[in-house]
C-alpha cells in the first residue's frame, strides 16, 4: 500500500495536490484551527484519493483559507494569501481534463512566482533603502536570525549590540540620530549582498514570466533553488519554503529528476533551525 502511495506521488495530479495538502497543514502553524481541514484533506488522500482530486474539495479549502485571513489577519504573513490563491489555481486546474492538469498547474505556478517576485523587487525599489544596504543592515541589527550573514560580512556581535542600543535610544527620543558605521569592506559586502539578492529576485521574476521557449526560462529552477538555499539558510520560514519547493517542482514538470528540490529546502531549513541558538 505504501509502495502504491509513493508511486502515485510521481503522478502530477496526485503528487502536486498531495504536496499542496501537506503545505496546508504546515501553513496551519499560522493559525492552528486550520490544521483540522488540512488533516481531513490528508486523510481523504489516504482513504479516498479520487475524492481528494475533486475540484469542490479545493474550492472548500480555498474558501477556508481566505476566511482564516479575514478572521485573524494579524497572524498571516504574505505567503498565506499566496497559498490561498494557489488553492484556487489547483481547483481550476482540476476542472481540466486529467492530461492537461500538469501544464495548467505549471502555468499557474510560474505566473504566481513571477508576479510575487516582481512585487518584491518593486517594493525594494520603491522604498529606496535596499540598494544602498541600509535595509539589510537594519535587519541584521534587529533580527537575530541574520547572525550568520552579519558574521560573514564582518559585523561583530559587539557592533550589533551597540547599534541596537543606539536605535533603542533613538526610538525612545533619547538621541537625535543613529549612524550605521563599519569598515569599508563590511559596507561594500552589505551593499553587494543587497544588490545580488535584488538581481536574483529580478531573474526569478522575469524567468517565470517569459514564455517556456525563452532562453531565460532555463534559469527558473536554478534561480529559485538558489533563492531558497540563500534565504532559508538564514531565515528559516518553513511554510513559504514548502510552497516555493512545490512551485519549483511543478514549474519544472513534476519530473522525477527535480524531486530533490523539496528535500534540499527541508535540509537547509533543518540545519538553520538546529543552529539558530548559535
Amino acid at each position: 500500500m505504501i509502495d502504491q502511495f509513493l508511486a502515485r506521488l510521481n503522478e502530477p495530479r496526485f503528487g502536486i495536490t498531495f504536496l499542496t495538502a501537506v503545505t496546508s497543514l504546515v501553513m496551519a502553524s499560522h493559525w492552528p484551527p486550520m490544521a483540522v481541514p488540512s488533516l481531513a484533506l490528508l486523510a481523504l488522500f489516504v482513504a479516498r484519493p479520487n475524492v481528494a482530486a475533486h475540484p469542490a474539495v479545493w474550492w472548500i479549502m480555498a474558501v477556508a483559507w481566505f476566511a482564516a485571513q479575514v478572521v485573524v489577519p494579524e497572524r498571516m504573513e504574505d505567503h498565506v494569501p499566496l497559498f490561498a490563491i494557489w488553492l484556487v489555481a489547483v481547483a481550476l486546474c482540476l476542472h481540466r481534463p486529467a492530461e492537461e492538469f500538469l501544464a495548467a498547474a505549471a502555468f499557474q505556478a510560474r505566473m504566481l512566482v513571477g508576479v510575487t517576485f516582481g512585487a518584491a523587487v518593486a517594493w525594494k525599489v520603491y522604498f529606496g533603502t535596499y540598494l544602498d544596504g541600509v535595509t539589510l543592515w537594519t535587519y541584521m541589527i534587529a533580527d537575530e536570525r541574520f547572525r550568520p550573514l552579519s558574521t560573514v560580512l564582518g559585523l561583530s556581535d559587539d557592533a550589533i549590540q551597540a547599534d541596537r542600543k543606539e536605535i533603542s535610544q533613538l526610538l525612545s527620543g533619547d538621541r537625535a540620530v543613529a549612524v550605521l558605521e563599519s569598515s569599508g569592506l563590511t559596507v561594500t559586502g552589505i551593499v553587494a549582498v543587497s544588490v545580488l539578492t535584488l538581481v536574483l529576485e529580478i531573474v526569478i521574476s522575469l524567468s517565470h514570466l517569459v514564455s517556456d521557449r525563452s532562453r531565460l526560462a532555463r534559469l527558473r529552477l536554478p534561480s529559485l533553488v538558489l533563492f531558497g538555499v540563500v534565504t532559508y539558510g538564514v531565515v528559516p520560514v518553513l511554510p513559504f519554503a514548502l510552497l516555493l519547493a512545490l512551485f519549483a517542482m511543478t514549474v519544472a514538470g513534476w519530473r522525477r529528476d527535480v524531486m530533490w528540490v523539496l528535500p534540499t529546502f527541508m535540509i537547509v531549513i533543518a540545519i538553520r533551525v538546529a543552529t539558530l541558538a548559535f
Binding site: E77, P81, I85, L92, L112, A119, W123, F127, T129, Y139
Partner: protein, 148 residues
C-alpha cells in the same frame, strides 16, 4: 464539471488577478496607513527599515516627565498597534492605560500601585533614514485626558 475552452483561458487568469488585487490592497494599506510591510500580502518583506519590529510605542504622562512601562498583559494589543498604527487603535490602547493604576519611580511608571493618570500621550514611532543616518519618525501621536 469541465470548463469550455474560452472559459478555461479566462479562468486561468483568475489566480494571477487575485494575486495582483491582494498586492494592490495590501500595498495601499502599507503606503496610506503605515501597515507593517512584513505582515501583509504585498510581498514587501525585507524591503524597508520601517517595520513592526523596529517600531516602538512610547507613552508618557505629565508633559513627558513620566514614561509608562507597558504592561505585559497588553503585549498582543501593542503588537497589533505596531503593525497597524491607526489613531483609533492608539486612542483605544491609551484609554485602557488610563484605567490602570501605577507606581512611579525615577520618572518611570510601572503597573500596580495607587497612582492614576488622567492624561496620557501615546506615540507610535518608527525609523526613517537619510543614507546611513537613521532618525525617528512619528507614525501616530494621540493625547487622551485633560491635556488633550
Amino acid at each position: 464539471m469541465k470548463l469550455s475552452s474560452d472559459s478555461r483561458s479566462l479562468a486561468a487568469m483568475v489566480p494571477v488577478a487575485l494575486l495582483l488585487c491582494s498586492i494592490a490592497v495590501h500595498g495601499f494599506q502599507i503606503v496610506a496607513h503605515e501597515d507593517d510591510p512584513q505582515r501583509s500580502g504585498a510581498f514587501a518583506m525585507f524591503s524597508t527599515i520601517d517595520i513592526g519590529a523596529t517600531r516602538k510605542i512610547v507613552v508618557t504622562a505629565q508633559d513627558g516627565a513620566v514614561l509608562l512601562e507597558l504592561p505585559e498583559s497588553m503585549g498582543q494589543q501593542g503588537l497589533s498597534l505596531l503593525d497597524r498604527p491607526s489613531e483609533k487603535a492608539a486612542t483605544s490602547f491609551v484609554s485602557e492605560l488610563t484605567e490602570l493604576t501605577w507606581t512611579v519611580a525615577d520618572g518611570v511608571a510601572t503597573e500596580g500601585g495607587s497612582e492614576t493618570f488622567d492624561g496620557l500621550r501615546l506615540q507610535v514611532v518608527g525609523l526613517g533614514n537619510e543614507g546611513r543616518t537613521l532618525h525617528r519618525t512619528v507614525l501616530v501621536d494621540v493625547v487622551v485626558g485633560p491635556s488633550s
